[in-house]
Amino acid sequence: MTRDSLDLLQGTLDLLILRTLAWGQMHGYGISGFIRQRTDGAISIVDAALYKALHRLERDRLIDSVWGVSENNRKAKYYRLTPAGRRRLHAELDEWRRYSAAVLKVVEPLPT
């Protein structure tokens, strides 16, 4: 994890992966790049942690994988959301929204 990126809260990585795969199937490298891009580099994930999370999610059948061919004609492993993963994503998103709203209510607006 780079020093200037945000520390990820427990479980947030899973949410990010699930949300990313909601766009469509993607390989690990793509997921990593996608998250970095979307957050303008604010969040960058250690690759080892990403793959551990991917295999854990696959084990829990929230995502599954197929071998496919990458943009540059290389054999790559693509991950997709399963219906269970999609359900989990929505549940976690709701949870996240409630959580962040609650936090924001406390911290904003700052007294001047």
């Binding site: 390989h27 690990g28 490298y29 990593s32 250690v46 690759d47 080892a48 942690a49 793959y51 551990k52 991917l54 295999h55 854990r56 696959e58 084990r59 059948r61 599954d64 994988s65 197929v66 990458s70 290389r74 054999k75 790559a76 492993k77 997709r80 399963t82």
Partner: protein, 879 residues
């Protein structure tokens, strides 16, 4: 189901091993690192720097690799399990869809199997209740029956055991049980009632574990002579007679003993035996303590002692007391369970064997139908094979189909069996002639037997399912799809043929058994009894000692009773007799005053006490001399009438009239005044001669009355009872039965076996014929084109017949020959049940062969005529 597992299965991807998993992870990581390197290089890093940076950014690679491997292996195990279940679910779905698509086939196959399972389960339940389930006594395997002889057969000139001191054998055993069966008339209330009972030794309660549920057992003093009279009554009698009123305990009732008329009849009830208490002898409503020494009937072996040792010790204690005994005579001990069930064992084994055969035939015919059907599904299977399903997978699919069918059938069959047993429960004991050990409630086996039946039925179905599954997937199923028809040539029909052959063979065995038993029943019915049974009714009556203390009183009341009964409208004649014909009982040795005996063996005869009308009522014919009349009173000379067989035995053909005989150990000489035709006491067992004494000279307290009706139909029990009540209201009639019932009782178990075997055999014959019909139809349909070509080029009807029949004739002939051979080999099983016909009877075997052949011919006729009516032109156009 996840896409990847579906995908993998669809492509038949091999299951992922640990090595594949690891190399997959490495591939994935390598791809990532290479992509990252390219990215870094495109940003201007040198290749070496790019690689180092990519690795650095990745983090702990070894740890990630290990973590991912564990997760993947876990997922793999899970998905394998899920795949298997998915496939199973898929197979079950296919199976149920197929059943719905062809419900007639499914219903027919299920019903056929269910009937087989039900018959086998019901037969096994009965066998289990009699032969397998332990007797309801504590540690029943250590109990033995004592037989006063070397075997069950009566021993000629056996020594009298009257003087033996039986306490001498007490030390040999861990408990002895003696009893003396008796009948009691229970007086009082609105009507007297006759109940079965027994006088029992202390061991009866302790050794057999008979305990009162209410009240208490007998005190030790109760077994001493002169003790206050006490009794235990059965739960059934308590409910029937006393309405389960506990205040009956300790009260006194009036019980007239039949065999011990001098016993005090005022008896105190001390307890009620537990419901379901089982008495090995016969149902016993009243138990009273035995105050005399008596030969033990049941003994409990000491722990560690064998039956042979116990028997040797028993003889060592008894024989010295007898002085000299005939050579070869000794007492024997037999396990109680064996002794109790030895008569029914062959019937039950035969019955279960027949039911098991029927189940096999049912399973075989369903398998045969499936073989033919599966052959028609080669296209479907071929497509699945072409798409990558392995043969094992296809076999598994077909097997699942059969298994589903078999499981449904097994459950339905078992439920049917459960219902059946409940319906027949009360009829089983009377039909077998031996009541169910422990009571008929124990016929319904525990849940484990039913579970076993369901498992065995399903497993059998699956086993037979292998046959069509293997047959259908044999050869290159995919090739037959490509070619658009069956290219594997005529599939080897050996499997289908042997199935039908085996069915025919087993059917022949069942038919032979049924035929032999049917002839046995006919022989029993036609056996010359020596007396008339039609329209006759028999009832027993006890003349209580307290009311009729001496011979004169008994004679008097007997005369009055007969006169009263004869007055009942519809009754033609009435007579006294005891014992009545076919009543189980011993025979007494008969000695003659002088003459030449036919052999060294002392002749024995059943001794009857009769009123003068007896021969007329029973239509027993007088051969010489006269019947009894009023002359034969107690003051006149003692007279007897004997049967012709006894006359021959005693005086070898010389006239018996005027000669004198002595009965048993009696000192009195009696003069023969008549000779009558001998009657059968039993059709199958040993025959014995008859001696008749006039009731007036031998007035028993317990006697039977036989009455004949005017119209050839027996009078009603009710009329008789009312007539007796008019004479004296303590006279209770018991065991009222027609003579037809009494005589047919002996053949009951054989009739039942015959009926069931005929039923089983007809079911089997129907299935075998159906199987043959289906098989030949299938052959004709398959070879339609070939037959058409042959007809087109001028084959005549005879050669077409040969072609179609060829297979059928071989199968039927082989099956019949195998069946006859198997029947001869199994003849032993029925040997003890067959009467009046040999188990290898050629007439029966020949008739069965003809029946099976005719059935086979009629099964073949349909498809054969279809084959002959094939229109060559249209048949060839179809292809």
């Amino acid at each position: 189901m996840s896409d990847s597992s579906r995908f993998r299965r669809f492509l038949r991807l091999p299951r992922r091993s640990r090595r594949t998993i690891e190399s997959d992870i490495d591939d994935e990581f390598r791809f990532h690192l290479e992509m990252r390197e390219r990215e870094l290089r495109s940003l201007g890093r040198s290749p070496t720097e790019a690689r180092r940076e990519a690795l650095r950014q990745f983090g702990d690679l070894a740890d990630a690799r290990e973590y991912c491997r564990t997760a993947d292996q876990h997922a793999e195990r899970h998905s394998r399990r899920r795949n298997w279940l998915d496939e199973l679910r898929q197979d079950v779905l296919i199976a149920s869809r197929l059943m719905r698509r062809n419900p007639r086939f499914a219903l027919g196959a299920t019903l056929t199997l269910a009937v087989g399972v039900a018959a086998a389960t019901a037969a096994y339940s009965v066998l289990y209740a009699y032969l397998v389930r332990p007797l309801p006594y504590p540690d029943p395997d250590r109990l033995a029956f004592v037989i006063p002889g070397p075997s069950r057969e009566p021993f000629p000139n056996a020594p009298s055991l009257r003087t033996v001191d039986w306490t001498k054998v007490d030390s040999v055993f861990n408990g002895t049980v003696a009893w003396d069966l008796d009948g009691f008339t229970l007086a009082g209330g609105d009507r007297p009632e006759y109940v079965d009972g027994a006088w029992v030794s202390p061991g009866y309660l302790t050794t057999l574990g008979v305990r009162p549920a209410v009240g208490r057992a007998f005190q030790p003093e109760a077994y001493t002579a002169g003790a206050p009279p006490v009794a235990l009554i059965s739960d059934a009698l308590w409910a029937r007679r006393f309405n389960r009123d506990s205040s009956i305990i300790g009260t006194t009732i009036r019980l007239h003993s039949t065999d011990r008329p001098l016993e005090n009849e005022l008896v105190t009830i001390v307890g009620v035996t537990a419901p379901g208490t089982w008495h090995v002898t016969r149902f016993t409503d009243v138990i009273r303590p035995l105050t005399t020494s008596r030969m033990p009937s049941i003994v409990r072996l000491k722990s560690g002692s064998t039956l042979a040792q116990a028997q040797a010790q028993l003889n060592a204690a008894v024989i010295p007391q007898l002085g000299e005994v005939p050579t070869g005579w000794r007492m024997s001990a037999v396990p109680v369970h064996e002794e109790y069930t030895h008569e029914v064992r062959p019937i039950l084994v035969a019955l279960f064997g027949a039911a098991a055969f029927m189940l096999l035939i049912a399973a075989g015919s369903v398998a045969g139908a499936l073989v033919a059907r599966a052959a028609g599904r080669r296209d479907e299977l071929g497509i699945r094979g072409a798409l990558g399903a392995s043969r094992g997978r296809l076999v598994r699919q077909l097997l699942t189909e059969t298994f589903v069918l078999a499981a449904v059938a097994a459950i339905a069959g078992t439920l049917l069996a459960r219902f059946l047993i409940e319906v027949i429960a009360s009829a089983v004991g009377p039909h077998l002639g031996v009541s169910v050990p422990g009571g008929e409630a124990r016929l319904i086996p525990d849940i484990m037997v039913f579970a076993l039946a369901i498992i065995a039925g399903s497993a059998l179905g699956a086993l037979f399912g292998l046959i069509p599954a293997v047959a259908a997937t044999r050869g290159d199923v995919a090739a037959s799809v490509r070619a658009g028809r069956n290219v594997s040539g005529p599939s080897r029909p050996i499997m289908r043929q042997s199935l039908i052959g085996a069915q025919i063979a087993l059917t022949v065995v069942l038919l032979v058994g049924a035929g032999l038993m049917a002839r046995t029943v006919a022989a029993l019915r036609n056996a010359p009894l020596g007396f008339q049974t039609a329209g006759l009714l028999k009832a027993d009556v006890l003349l209580p000692q307290s009311r009729y203390p001496d011979a004169a009183a008994r004679r008097n009341v007997a005369d009055r009773a007969l006169a009263e009964i004869r007055r009942v409208p519809g009754i033609r004649a009435a007579a006294l007799v005891f014992p009545y014909p076919f009543r189980q009982g011993g025979a007494a040795p008969i000695s003659s005053e002088a003459g030449t005996r036919a052999s060294d063996v002392i002749p024995r005869a059943t001794v009857h006490s009769i009123s003068p009308d007896y021969f007329r009522v029973m239509q027993i014919s007088l051969i010489s001399g006269r019947t009894f009349d009023d002359r034969d009173n107690p003051d006149a000379a003692a007279v007897v009438i004997i049967s012709d067989g006894l006359a021959r035995d005693l005086w070898s053909g010389e006239s018996a009239l005027g000669r004198r005989i002595r009965i048993g150990e009696s000192e009195e000489w009696r003069t023969v005044v008549g000779v009558v035709n001998e009657t059968l006491k039993t059709v199958i067992g040993e025959h014995s001669a008859d001696v008749y004494m006039p009731y007036a000279q031998a007035p028993r307290a317990y006697t039977s009355i036989v009455v004949s009706g005017t119209s050839g139909t027996p009078p009603t029990a009710h009329d008789l009872q009312r007539a007796m009540a008019r004479v004296d209201d303590v006279l209770a009639l018991s065991d009222i039965r027609t003579l037809d019932e009494i005589v047919s009782q002996e053949g009951a178990s054989r009739r039942m076996l015959a009926t069931l075997l005929v039923g089983f055999a007809l079911f089997a014959l129907g299935l075998a014929a159906l199987g043959l019909y289906a098989s030949i139809s299938y052959v004709v349909a398959r070879r339609r084109r070939e037959l058409a070509v042959r007809m087109a080029i001028g084959a005549n009807a005879a050669s077409i017949m040969r072609l179609v029949l060829g297979e059928g004739v071989v199968v039927v002939t082989g099956g019949v020959i195998a069946g006859v051979a198997l029947s001869l080999a199994l003849a032993r099983v029925l040997a003890s049940q067959v009467y009046g016909v040999a188990t290898t009877d050629t007439l029966t075997l020949g008739a069965i062969v003809i029946i099976v052949t005719l059935a086979a011919l009629s099964a073949i006729a349909g498809p054969l005529s279809r084959a002959l009516r094939i229109d060559p032109a249209s048949a060839m156009r179809v292809e």
